[in-house]
């Protein structure tokens, strides 16, 4: 009985995790990973190197979008 309810709870936790993943990350995890890397590098450039860093995120978008589209088209 207890084992069955534990399995049910685990199933719900898994379903919730999948929902959050789908909601936040979506179809292509490369995009989320690329955005995270771009923001970390922007932070480092702006704080550690005190270099002009506003351009980095737009450049990342210009690279990530075609890459993600290419992956999507190739899959079909």
């Amino acid at each position: 009985m207890a084992g069955q309810s534990a399995i049910q709870v685990a199933g719900r936790v898994r379903a919730f995790g999948l929902f959050v993943y789908d909601f936040v990350i979506g179809d292509d995890w490369w995009v989320a990973a690329g955005v995270a890397v771009a923001l970390v590098v922007t932070y480092l450039l702006a704080h550690a190197a005190t270099v002009t860093a506003w351009w980095l995120v737009p450049v990342a978008v210009m690279l990530l979008m075609p890459l993600s589209l290419w992956r999507a088209v190739r899959k079909r």
Binding site: F23, G26, D27, T42, Y43, A53, W54, V61, V73
Partner: protein, 254 residues
């Protein structure tokens, strides 16, 4: 950021979500039971209200720099997802979002389920279908309104835009009792993708410590650049032959 830009961005994004939720509720009401579908809507709105009440102050309490980084990152990921789907649709690599087809699909699934009475509703399936649809689409509405509103220090305006969008779409759905197929949803999704990507890029970089040339005026350059870039990608992808014709399964997605 101008108040009108914030209002338009939140209104359009929330209207798209509201159209999708309305389609599901209409299918639940038509195929099953209107009272159960209605109770599902009310219950989902109550849950969304509780989530907003809990998250709103928490998000507002974050320091502005951390908030912009966090919200910018989420908006950017979200925006790129929307834009990616919109570009694939516009270039013929993904079936266009068709509310009529989605409505028919929900209707057929709802009709095939046996009736089961719930404690408070005559039809449990109709209630659940409606509740889930409104809750899931509503979460996106809450997310968009909260993130835009808190970042621009204009939560009441963002909330007003979100509520207006939901009311306009909801009332239209109730009035015609049919899927809102005439709403130019694919175009709206493209525009929303551009706006989310623009604001995500701006706030994300600013939150990470970058300073934009021209401050907020950079948005006026960034938005058309993102739009032109996306349109350019559509033009390029139109030249790439689609692997397979869009199927009914593809219609369901997004």
């Amino acid at each position: 950021m101008g108040a009108s830009a914030l209002f338009i961005a939140v209104f359009l994004a929330c209207a798209v979500e509201a159209v999708e939720a309305t389609t599901i509720v209409l299918a639940a009401g038509t195929a099953r039971d209107w009272r159960s579908a209605g109770v599902g809507v009310v219950a989902a709105l109550a849950v969304l209200g509780a989530i907003t009440a809990a998250l709103g102050p928490a998000v507002s309490a974050l320091p502005i720099q951390a908030l912009r980084l966090f919200v910018g990152a989420l908006l950017l990921v979200f925006g790129l997802q929307w834009l990616r789907k919109a570009i694939l649709r516009a270039s013929g690599h993904k079936a266009l979002h068709d509310e009529d087809a989605i409505y028919a699909e929900h209707l057929s699934a709802a009709r095939s389920e046996p009736a089961r009475r719930g404690a408070l509703v005559p039809d449990l399936y109709g209630f659940t279908l409606s509740f889930k649809g409104v809750l899931l689409e509503g979460l996106e509405v809450v997310f968009i309104a909260l993130t835009f509103g808190s970042n621009a220090h204009q939560i009441p305006l963002a909330a007003l835009a979100a509520v207006s969008a939901v009311l306009v779409v909801g009332l239209a759905g109730v009035a015609i009792r049919a899927p809102l197929a005439r709403v130019p949803e694919n175009t709206m999704k493209f525009v929303v993708g551009v706006l989310l990507t623009t604001f995500g890029t701006f706030w994300g970089a600013e939150g990470a410590g970058a300073t934009w040339p021209g401050s907020d005026a950079a948005l006026l350059v960034l938005a058309p650049c993102v739009a032109l870039f996306a349109l350019g990608l559509v033009a390029v992808l139109r030249r790439v032959p689609a692997g397979a014709r869009p199927s009914a399964a593809m219609v369901k997605a997004g």
